[in-house]
């Protein structure tokens, strides 16, 4: 019997998912065996299987009462369950069209009854089934409770499979336990409050056990207050109270400072609140209060600040290396690690290229190309798209193959955030530390947040670069084409006696090309009105003969071209008959935005002065027609042929001028 394809779409994604789960061909594991044996008992069948359906066959992660550990797809009943899309129960396989010819039904072992619940991953891919099988038909199938148990067990199996891959990234289980113990300690450190009481006469402090723990000193009934005071780091000395200000009763009641914790030298932030107890005469006798460790909150604040600074930097940045370099420095300094950077990964070439990195003093930079061969475990993991977090390479058995490679680059603990494009690994943002180091969940989240912003920033710059390149190329072609048109026209019209017409045509082409130049500066999206005017008229007159006054409105591409052509015609006429035909003539261009009726309008006035009196043209040529059609063809053009020179007034809705 031939098996039709399992589904039209998503099949490739399903195989990819199955392979990424790294479960096929792995050794039996008691947790999975336990599930099938429960299924077998509850459903009262001789056989139960956890079956994973791959491209070429089905493979059993756990089996109870069934010999082979894989079969081809022709023998797979589970494949039908996947097609079925939910729990499939077939009371008698020999009577069902789909399975009557199945070799496992017709031949040994002659199976008859099948019930399979789907193994559905958290992202919705059905990768196989947990099924029970009997050699006797069962007209009644399974009862509702049995179906529920079977489906529940299938969910458990998927959870186990997904946890397996998850635990790869959280390292071996012993390291995991140690870390979680350390983390829970960090959590209690944050919450607890220590109490102290200082006798001002003796300068003796009575600390609670919790306070001793916060400062890392041996619990004792009493200490000299100086024992705690000297734990402050030099930069923060003076933020605590001292014997003099306490005796005088003028100590700060609330303060925050950093200490070097006595037993391990760790840098911790402490918040202290205190108050004086005074005697009958009002003089201070004791200073008493509370201390708490606020390191986590302080670090969170600092990281928040880094993310804000980073966002600003990325907005302003103009190159990829600037973004990566700055982000690496900010992250490296905040986390006090050895090295931070970005590596482009080329899987087919088996290479990675560290394009930029930040290194702590004394740490070697990795900038340059390297073979990926020593880091195949890392690459394999990163291809799942999950962040890789390793606290201690010695405990990360699954990464054993890469340990030598990491030794060479002086790296033990690490966090790597993969960059995927179309489901392919193309790079990773990495944080390296030379010694083992337990990453807190907050640190991992912080690195992820930084990487995410860097990736977004890099993508923006790449897109802009590509766009700019494309625009340059397009502009180049366009201008070459205009040059060709001009040359063809000139060659074609060689014999024409009206040289003036040929020249006018040529000049109009130049005006068009110049307008394109201005637009190109903003990727053809817009141009400032002043730039359009200045570059358009630069072809015709020295700048001191032109004045241009008005708000620097942004024009859309259509309006920029229209204004350029309009100005070209006006300037050409001015050179022939108007203000630019005499040396002392000038042109004033003034524009403003006005509200006429409900719409904002741009009013532009072209005024020629110092030239001969203006005379209305007898003939309406192309130039005159273009001028009287106004800005963006609105037709709102008023031409006044004054004795002082031409005055042209053009009106167009602002919305039309800014339109793309």
């Amino acid at each position: 019997m031939t098996i039709p394809p399992l589904s039209v779409t998503g099949e490739a994604a399903r195989f990819e998912k199955l392979r990424n789960l790294d479960i096929l061909d792995t050794a039996p594991e008691p947790a999975f065996d336990g599930l099938v044996s429960i299924a077998r008992t509850v459903c009262n069948t001789p056989t139960a299987l956890i079956s994973l359906v791959d491209k070429d066959g089905q493979w059993f992660k756990a089996r109870s009462g069934f010999e082979p550990c894989e079969t081809n797809l022709d023998s797979s009943v589970c494949a039908h369950a996947l097609r079925h899309g939910s729990t499939l129960i077939i009371p008698d396989l020999s009577l069902d069209l789909r399975t009557a010819a199945n070799p496992l039904v017709t031949d040994n072992p002659g199976i008859r009854f099948y019930a399979g619940a789907l193994l559905k991953t958290s992202d919705g891919h059905a990768i196989g089934t947990l099924c029970v099988i009997d050699t006797e038909p069962r007209p009644k199938g399974l009862n509702a409770a049995q179906v529920k148990v079977l489906e529940g067990l299938a969910d458990q199996a998927v959870a186990l499979i997904e946890m397996r891959i998850g635990s790869l990234y959280r390292e071996a289980s012993n390291a995991l336990e140690r870390e979680s113990a350390e983390r829970s300690q960090a959590a209690t450190e944050a919450g607890r409050v220590g109490i102290f009481d200082i006798d001002l006469a003796t300068n003796e402090i009575t600390p609670s056990a919790e306070m001793c723990r916060i400062f890392g000193v041996e619990p004792a009934p009493a200490y000299d207050a100086g024992v705690f005071e000297k734990l402050l780091i030099p930069d923060d000395q003076g933020k605590q109270s001292n014997r003099d200000d306490r005796t005088a009763g003028v100590s700060q009641l609330m303060t925050e400072y950093r200490i070097k914790r006595a037993h391990d030298g760790a840098l911790r932030w402490i918040a202290r609140r205190g108050g004086f107890i005074t005697g009958a005469d009002g003089s201070p006798l004791r200073f008493t209060g509370t201390v708490s460790d606020i390191t986590e909150r302080k670090l969170a604040e600092l990281r928040q600040q880094v993310l804000i600074d980073l966002g600003e930097m990325i907005r302003e940045a103009e190159s990829v290396s600037e973004i990566v370099g700055e982000a690496a420095r900010m992250l490296g300094e905040n986390l006090s690690v050895s090295r931070v950077g970005y590596a482009a990964i080329d899987i087919p070439a088996d290479l990675f290229d560290v394009q930029s990195d930040w290194c702590a003093p004394g740490i070697e930079s990795l900038v340059g190309h390297h073979s990926l061969a020593a880091f195949h475990g890392t690459a394999k993991f990163l291809r799942t798209g999950q962040p890789l977090v390793v606290s201690n390479i010695a405990a990360a058995h699954w990464l054993r193959g890469d340990s030598e490679g990491y030794a060479v680059i002086g790296t033990n603990a690490k966090i790597k955030i993969p960059l995927m494009r179309r489901a392919q690994l193309i790079g990773c943002f990495f944080v390296h530390h030379e010694t083992a180091r337990t990453w807190t969940p907050a640190e991992v989240a912080f690195v992820e947040a930084v990487a995410e912003r860097v990736y977004a920033g890099v993508a923006r710059i790449r897109a802009e670069e590509e766009q700019a390149l494309l625009n340059q190329e397009l502009s180049h072609r366009l201008k070459n084409t205009l040059a060709m048109v001009a040359a063809i026209a000139k060659q074609t019209l060689r014999g024409v006696t009206e040289k003036e017409a040929v020249e006018a045509f040529h000049a109009r082409l130049l005006a068009l090309a110049s307008a394109h130049d201005v637009l190109l500066q903003n990727s053809w999206s817009s141009a400032r009105i002043r730039t359009v005017i200045e570059s358009g008229l630069a072809l015709h007159a020295k700048s001191e003969r032109i004045s241009a006054i008005g708000p620097d409105v942004k024009l859309g591409p259509k309006a920029a071209l229209s204004l350029s052509m309009l100005l070209h015609e006006l300037a050409t006429n001015a050179i022939k008959y108007g203000a630019l035909s005499v040396p002392e003539g000038k042109i004033e261009i003034a524009w403003s935005v006005e509200r006429e009726t409900s719409e904002a309008m741009l009013r532009l006035i072209w005024r020629e002065i110092g030239g001969p009196p203006a005379i209305s043209p007898e003939r309406k040529g192309f130039g005159s027609r273009l001028i009287s059609s106004g800005l963006v063809g609105t037709g709102k053009a008023e031409l006044s042929y004054d004795s002082t020179g031409l005055v042209g007034t053009f009106l167009a809705p602002l919305s039309l001028l800014t339109q793309h």
């Binding site: 340059q472 502009s475 180049h476 205009l482 040059a483 060709m484 060659q491 090309a513 190109l520």
Partner: protein, 125 residues
Amino acid sequence: MATAQVPARQIVLVVEDEPILMMDAVDLIEQAGFEAVEATNADEAIKILLSRPDIHILFTDIDMPGSMDGVKLAQIARDRWPPIEIIIVSGHRTVHEDDMPDRGLFFAKPYSPRAVKAALQSFVA
């Protein structure tokens, strides 16, 4: 030999791979009172420069097939034949300042024939 001493017309080497633009450029150069010699790429231009010491002006496009573009050609010309005047034309918006040879002039395509004519004539003035 008693030939009259007519002042020899200055010679411009035009480098342009597009025939129509070449035709147009040659027209312009001749109208300006110069003699034009044609090359369709930079390698050919170098050969002409090597064999003809009478070239006064190099007039070149930038994008051309062959081993080098017009900018490179202009730089070589400037190094090996320092007296030559150079005009570069291109559809590119500008040429980077560092890439322009000394005393080189740049015109964006399409160029104004009047401006180019004026530039050519300024070299002989």
